[in-house]
Symmetry: D4
Subunit: 218 residues, 8 copies
């Protein structure tokens, strides 16, 4: 019953992906069968929890390249076309890693090189300053942070690169759910910072690809 | 008493600007005197309401290029360096114009060419479809929309360009204040859309400049 | 102890139904016994989870026509009276299907014909445009969408039909719980769109029946 | 600069209207000039405050039929086509009248007959019960209520008619802004009630017209 | 380590009770031991879930009169002093029963007679009207309702009795958690209605006892 | 056009009053004319701001007993029937006085004696303890407090009297609007405390009258 | 009618102050008369707007030392007792000055020396780093910041001093009202940071005095 | 992959700790291995649930001093340096104990003596007054309270000591999650009270240490 948007890649240069969070195992199996029969050789699955992955029809699941901590799976491998440029995926803390990995896996799928820069939260500024020259060698920065998300403002004030903030739902109390991180990023005192939905590593990666693809001569 | 971040442009390639919303007329006069004496020849003032502008010291105010509807003022004109590329500033409705103009004035100040595409809200899709080829000739898209902000998803699904959404605080009831537009943009079903704070035309323009500046060979 | 509103159908032409979400298995068994003894031959059960259904007294449960994905059960089959007109139940994505099925099962129970139109979200507009003529052959439209719910505004701007929006609680971050979809629908820029509670496929179906029943000559 | 959706009436059988709330006087004057020159003879202006109306260019303003308490103005009078059927606009209290009048003025403009039923709030149920037979003679009911909006559930439980709830922003404390009324209506225990945005008398009227127009044989 | 407020009953004529929701089984066992040794013969336990009750030290648990659906337990039985007057506990729907039972069990413990009036929600007004004379024979009314909580306003408009509203966290979407019911009750259009916390049947019972005790000659 | 609920007093022993907050001066003048002609000799007006009062038709206004700080006006004086019992109206601070006076004026109108106890906020507990014996001589307590509203819990823990909390919208930051005070009262750790809407001195007075009237032999 | 807490200074070593925000001019005049007659020679008035100050009885107002931008007034000058230690009041931007000045004026009144460090927001980190040695010479730090309030985490990660965050209500969109700054500070990734209410410069100063007074040998 | 901030203790005199809430067991095992190899002999783990602790590599886990109810673990024992002064950790009720224990365990780890004062909630004021002299012998007070958190204001009005409020997420309805307690503390009517995030016993302890360390001669 599922209707794929097969024209998407042609139209917006981003292939369709399957967001598994609210889909039942039955729906996912049906999608995998459709894909097996259809023309779309490559698909990225996001928010595919370990439980769901393990409940899939084994014949279908075996064709997936699954990564548990990022809850992503690739069918058919990354696309062949390589996008020029490099993306740095920067995290404030270890707890932000699953979202950072979702971003990295999406970039990999979309043909973009990326570097992971971990644990440079502003409570210990020297860690960020130590890695700033390396960070500045990238064309687009994705900053993944929860709690007060202060890292976005600090990085935004130290570099001229396009900076995409990804708030994470880590923490408790006022941090819980990621609202504080989201609104803190939107209210950033550094100019020209942009933001995606809470925990949306996938979306940040797609935005980076729009930037890298959009500017180049075609 | 004010301390400017004179190193900002050198560091992040965006000059400092003065956000006037929470500053008293006395503070603004003091800033203008400081600027007259200082080295920073060019400054952009945002959220400078008509009332405040008219209350400024006339000798200082006369040096400003003031635009009432966008509540912006330029001191010393746009910077001389031209940034390559073009930005389209797209609005859903007429009520979104002040924010769109803030974006355009900021782009002008920063040396970027832009086009305004007005009144292409999705309730009458033909208006958007008519202008899509023209929109696609731009390198970065800024989409300004209030209420349900559906325009962001529709544009995001029709073009491969980097797309920065600016929610506006137009409307009433659940639209009032712009929260619904903001969250609708963050929840967009089109991949790779990024968002700035409500009514933040200035921030969207800076983000566009980060993109245009960041990718080019230096 | 339960007291049914047996006069409801006579009064408002909609029979009472049993909302199972906050009822214990004991309460549901008691209701089934009461119904077995009482005059109300036909009842619709909504939000009857698989776990609860399986815990019911088997003698009673066996009389129910249960549909797991919509969490609905019919006792005594659909009512005999047929309501004239047709309803289209339209979904933005696959994740919206359980709510769409609740709407369809309710319509079936109430004697109304309906068509399901799946996966026509605005990120790929061509899918909607392809099916618009078919959609326009229906008398009432129910649009089921989560996230930014932009589909409601787009459909509302393309058709003159009565349009009932059902926000869904799909997604994560700002989408989680369905508030963004709800408020986006309420803020729709298309005129004359109406909305029901989050995930309330049942209510949308009842509203469609009020429309179809209310206008016809009696 | 304004771009009208002139095809709207043809497409969705509802003409475009001008929402004045976030538009400056300059924008409104420009729109009036455009309309004077254009093909669209008839337009409804909503949320046109007394202050704005009085600031309009007098030559243009004089062509408007202005109603202060509903903040509406008609240019060119109601459309000629009459829509069959009758709408009852029901209010809980006197404070809900401005929104009720906006609904009535919109219905009048769109060619629909309506009756106003005032002050039938549930704190004094006898007033509602007294008028129930009269209410039931209408084809669509618009219920306008603030505070706890309990009237919607009570009316919804007493009649089979399509019922559109309009929450109002009357009251103070938890009532202030209309959120409580809105959510109370969405949570109504009466089946098949639908809701529009807070204070949106215009939207409720358009929804009523969709119902009345949509079902009739064409 | 627990420190009881043994002077409470003397001071405010309401004995202390033990709220078990956030206490571990270890804490509860310790409290039971303390009570066994101490002077306080009678205690009411609220929010004691079945799981926790079953995990208690069996020697201690056996001394409790436990009621699963209301999650209450009595140690030492109801107090001997009888409070004059009668309370009606009225519910909108079956889903509100657990909270109503908590109120009734608390009243029983405190020595007050009560009557349960179930399923008189306003969607079927006749059920309420049928029982109104009986309701009016009580001295204090406790109205337990979720969703839109319209029952409070309707009852408040039909009787002169003190009326305590208890919002419940039943339902889904905007009803979920009970906020809508709470705010709807606070915004009630019937004068002199008072409210307690969501699901707080215990508190409503205590308030009724304050009323019944407070007025009588001592 | 206004429809009074003249049967209210007979039904619930509380006369109707006129809430002026959302009514225009025109509506209020019309109501005053209706009252002058009608049978209802006595009416209480609440939320009648100084500006509105001064804009009323002078012939009508002169018949009102107006009290500016509580924004109340009496037409025809207090009712003749005296209600037995006494109410203490207790405030945490001076800023809570307007709400306390609204409660007192309503009690006066309804024929109930009351005492005002001012400035006994818990930051200086001795002030409360000094007046506790006097407070305990009253039959019902109304506690008016903003900010953290801690006074309600402290008073509730020191007395057995029925206690009605009225949160006020005083303060700034998290106190602004009165939400914190409201929720703090609802979450009170003292058993049997009940609450009304923010700033609702009128409602608290009516609740006190329900208590005083409801229990007495008739 | 006002009742001062004259014992406060003796009890908690902080004299009472008068919060003028919700008090009428009449109340303030009465307080000033009471103070003139009473034993309390010294009082601090906070949130005394220019409008209110100018409306006071001139004979009384003339005795006040008024500071417009901080909206504070001193009666009787600062207390004679000097508190040992020094406080740094640090602001992210110029817009935070009024709150910083309220803190400084309160410290002055309470006998504490303080230094103002302005415009060290994290978008230009060098400004903060330049002044860090000077900041570290103070015993307590008050950090005043709006928007994303990232300055609190950065300062908290660079110094061992007690740090009190004061969120400000500057900015617009998600910053408006100061919620984002408040929650960002509460979620700070730097350990041991504490927070007061939005715009509460007075409270931060009192907290600093508690620290400075509390530790010293008495 | 984890990068510790080994310079933290030297810089801010608080050693780094590991917040385990959002870390997987794999991440925690990796951290423990890193620590075993590294120079940081002592680390505090917070929010380490029983489930996670039991899933750790047993060889690593055995080196931890684990305390289940506070969900804390110490590696390498408390630091040797003793901080002068004493802290009182005061709780309103038994349900607040886990957070109080987290504060105490953190203080222990950081070398500070502390006393636990339990069950002194304001509903029974005598319990607090009985222990006030003992409380006043401490240098810093940490007050842990949920629900209305009134204890903070009462203690703040009775003592001159620095007072750090820790709101807890105990309770249900409006108390649920701890927002009401948090905002009530921020709105406290007692001057100079400061607040940390909900359930943040760790942060309150660190703040106490900043105070105790910050003032002493070095």
């Amino acid at each position: 019953m599922i209707k794929f948007d097969h024209q998407r890649e042609e139209r917006i240069r981003l292939p369709e992906s399957v967001f598994c969070h609210d889909k039942t195992v039955e729906m996912l199996n049906e999608i995998l069968v459709d894909l097996a029969e259809g023309a779309t050789a490559r698909v990225l699955f996001t928010r595919l929890s370990r439980e769901k992955f393990r409940s899939l029809n084994p014949d279908l699941a075996t064709r997936l390249d699954y990564h548990e901590l990022s809850e992503t799976a690739l069918l058919g491998g990354p696309r062949e076309e390589r996008v020029p440029g490099k993306v740095a995926v920067i995290t404030a803390g270890t707890s932000d890693l699953p979202v950072a990995w979702e971003a990295q896996r999406t970039l990999h799928y979309l043909g973009v090189a990326s570097t992971l820069v971990v644990d440079v939260g502003v409570a210990g500024l020297w860690r960020l300053q130590e890695r700033l020259p390396e960070i500045n060698e990238h064309d687009v920065l994705i900053v993944v942070a929860g709690m007060d998300a202060a890292l976005v403002s600090v990085v935004g004030g130290l570099t001229a690169r396009p900076l995409i903030g990804v708030p994470t739902s880590t923490g408790y109390g006022v941090s819980s759910g990621g609202r504080t991180a989201l609104e803190s990023m939107l209210a950033s005192c550094s100019p020209g910072v942009v933001v995606v939905n809470i925990d949306n590593g996938y979306g940040a990666a797609c935005a980076a690809v729009r930037i890298l693809q959009g500017i180049q001569p075609e």
